[in-house]
């Protein structure tokens, strides 16, 4: 068990270093110069603009050679300093992220977990009811093939514009400031429901199809056949089949996270929802190296933590995993 965890943690640390290096490198390959964007915002004489340009380039450390920028980046990272945003100058990146993270997590965690639970149960039910299955399967294939962004726009159009039930932009009304009151919470939920639905619905499809196939496969398995010859109740067979079928779905959960984050970005853009995805798009549009780095850093850490959790859950669920790594169960 210790060996298993040790190996896993080592792999995660290597992955982290590699991913963060890419995260640092890629924005710097983008054509264009972020400082020019910033300078152009302070309109003035060309002379003062030149002074400002050289000052800001120095201030952001962009005049140094790439390798020393890279070293400085790691040093700053360990100090918990993610730099200052160029686009939202002079606010520090960490502060910008702190504002955005709750909105992103508030969308992501409920949509991932709820769709996983609902999708798996729907799939398991469809697996043993032929008629329901033949109706549900095509619908689920359609849903899972729908892009988040397209579904988001449909939802916004019908529920937001045509029937005018839910607001279609922002995380709360412009007339409100974030604070803890029933008024604000109600308003927040009203804004939350559409982006949540567009993430939730698309994800359900994949889980339901996967679970349906897995349960059908499990129900054909020899251990189920043997249980039938022992005349046990259907309930026990279903319980065993569900539990064994869920194992690959747990792995799937870890693999899905990357895709979900991409979906999250587009959904936040569609609904102008001030989460990480929205901030990230703004950062990219404005060539804000530090903001892009910060956003990706958050995504990297999130995916790694989620994967690690899944590893732990899997170990608890399946004795065969424990066995293959430690020889102890």
């Amino acid at each position: 068990m210790k060996k298993y965890l040790g190996t896993k943690i080592l792999v995660y640390i290597l992955t982290f270093v590699f991913a963060v290096t890419l995260d640092w490198l890629i924005p710097r390959f983008m054509p264009g110069n972020p400082i020019l964007v910033l300078v152009s915002r302070f309109s003035g004489l060309p002379e003062s603009a030149r002074v400002m340009y050289s000052y800001l380039t120095k201030a952001f450390g962009l005049d140094q050679p790439l390798w020393s920028q890279y070293v400085n980046f790691w040093i700053a990272l360990f100090k918990g300093d993610l730099g200052i945003s160029i686009y939202l100058y002079p606010r520090p990146v960490l502060e910008v992220l702190k504002m955005a993270i709750p909105y992103s997590l508030g969308l992501m965690i409920p949509s991932i977990l709820l769709s996983w639970i609902v999708g798996n149960n729907l799939g398991a039910i469809a697996a043993r009811r032929k008629r329901l299955d033949s109706i549900m399967l095509p619908i689920m294939y359609f849903i899972t093939g729908a892009p988040y962004l397209w579904l988001g726009m449909l939802l916004a159009y019908f529920l937001g514009v045509v029937w005018d039930i839910f607001p279609i932009a922002g995380a709360y009304s412009f007339s409100l400031r974030p604070h803890l009151s029933w008024l604000f919470v109600g308003d927040f939920l009203k804004h939350w429901i559409l982006p949540f639905l567009s993430l939730f619905i698309v994800q359900i499809g994949g889980w339901a199809i996967g679970m349906r196939n897995m349960v059908i496969y499990e129900l054909e398995n020899n251990y189920v056949r043997y249980l039938e010859t022992l005349g046990v109740k259907r309930k026990l067979i279903r319980k065993y089949a569900f539990r064994n079928a869920i194992l690959p779905q747990v792995t799937g959960l870890a693999l899905q996270l990357g895709t979900v984050i991409a979906g999250q970005v587009t959904t936040e853009v569609v609904f102008s929802y001030p989460g990480i995805g929205y901030i990230l798009t703004q950062g990219i549009l404005n060539q804000d190296y530090f903001l892009i780095q910060g956003c990706f850093l958050f995504i990297i850490i999130g995916v790694l933590i989620a994967n690690f959790t899944v590893d732990l859950v899997y170990m608890a669920l399946d004795p065969r995993i424990r066995f293959s790594y430690g020889g102890e169960v």
């Binding site: 020899n222 251990y223 065993y240 065969r320």
Partner: protein, 318 residues
């Protein structure tokens, strides 16, 4: 005591019915081990499985099955649950992966018993005693199936299937995946279940006739979904009357004869397709004694006391 009368089990396929078990009648007395032998595809496993777990694509097309003078509703999946496990059980061909891989064996047994409405505690003593009977240590109950060897898993299934002292135990190809020394041990254990009075009657399905000589009281030979010959082990061994049984016996290797002395004879030809089988005797295409009458359904011939064969060419007291 098991009585089977005219049992027909067909597989429904798109092309028609495959007559895997066609009009089969036999019985197994209390305290008796019936060996059921035949080549691959002759319907012996279908018969064994059909008695306990009849579900599509296998279909019931008639016949009667009585266990201890009670009729078994073998074509009613739900009603059969009252009989499964408690009155009849099977040690399946796939015994090595018959256990749930993600449950500890002890927990698994407890859950199965609870699902059948039986208090697991009341059976604990019996369970431990049975584990000893098949040479498994008590700690297997705390283990997962992956931690056991194939043979151990099979013996665990043997314990499981006999836990409620069923009247009838069906052992389906239990020796196929074992080496010769384990084969003997497992055969003796299964015979032991009967001798110790744990089960009353036993059907031992195998393609290996030599195994049956060691343990069976009576032997039934099947060919192409039908019974060819039934008789006491001694009768079948020393006086096989059906041409198929005779040729089967000549196909067995003998101890002490080297391959240089002569090649094993074997039976030329192939068994017939069971989808739309030919009329009359199904063995006629391969039979050296074939005559005109063989195109008609063969009669049942009572060769001697307890020894019958389905063949035109067999005469009484042959």
């Amino acid at each position: 005591m098991l009585e089977v009368e005219g049992l027909k089990l067909y597989y429904k396929t798109l092309k028609g019915h495959v007559k895997a078990v066609d009009d089969v009648s036999f019985d197994v007395n209390d305290g008796e081990l019936l060996g059921l032998a035949g080549e691959s595809g002759c319907g012996k496993s279908t018969l064994g499985n059909g008695l306990i777990l009849l579900k599509p694509p296998m279909n019931y097309f008639g016949g009667m099955v009585q266990l201890d003078h009670t009729q078994l509703p073998i074509d009613d999946f739900e009603r059969m649950n009252d009989f499964r496990f408690s009155k009849l059980s099977i040690i399946p061909q796939y015994a090595m992966d018959a256990l749930n891989p993600t449950r500890k064996i002890g927990v698994y047994i407890r859950e199965v018993l609870q699902s059948r409405g039986i208090d697991p505690e009341s059976i604990m003593d019996k369970l431990l005693e049975r584990l000893k009977f098949v040479n498994l240590p008590e700690r297997v109950l705390k283990m997962y199936p992956i931690e056991l060897s194939g043979g151990m898993k099979q013996r665990m299934v043997m314990v499981m299937s006999t836990l409620l002292n069923p009247s009838l135990l069906i052992a389906d190809e239990v020796t196929s995946a074992l080496d010769v020394s384990s084969q003997k041990a497992v055969c003796l254990m299964i015979k032991g279940f009967k001798d110790a009075g744990i089960v009353k009657s036993l059907i031992f399905i195998t393609h290996d006739i030599s195994v049956l000589y060691q343990i069976a009281d009576r032997i039934m030979i099947m060919y192409a979904g039908k019974v060819a010959e039934i008789g006491k082990t001694q009768q079948i061994a020393s006086n096989p009357v059906h041409p198929y049984t005779k040729m089967l016996m000549f196909s067995l290797p003998e101890v002490g004869i080297r391959y240089a002395h002569g090649i094993l004879s074997g039976i030329p030809g192939q068994p017939p397709q069971l989808l739309n089988p030919p009329t009359g005797c199904l063995f006629k295409e391969r039979c050296p004694l074939r005559g005109k009458e063989c195109d008609e359904e063969p009669p049942v011939v009572n060769v001697e006391e307890g020894h019958i064969a389905y063949c035109w060419k067999v005469t009484q007291n042959a």
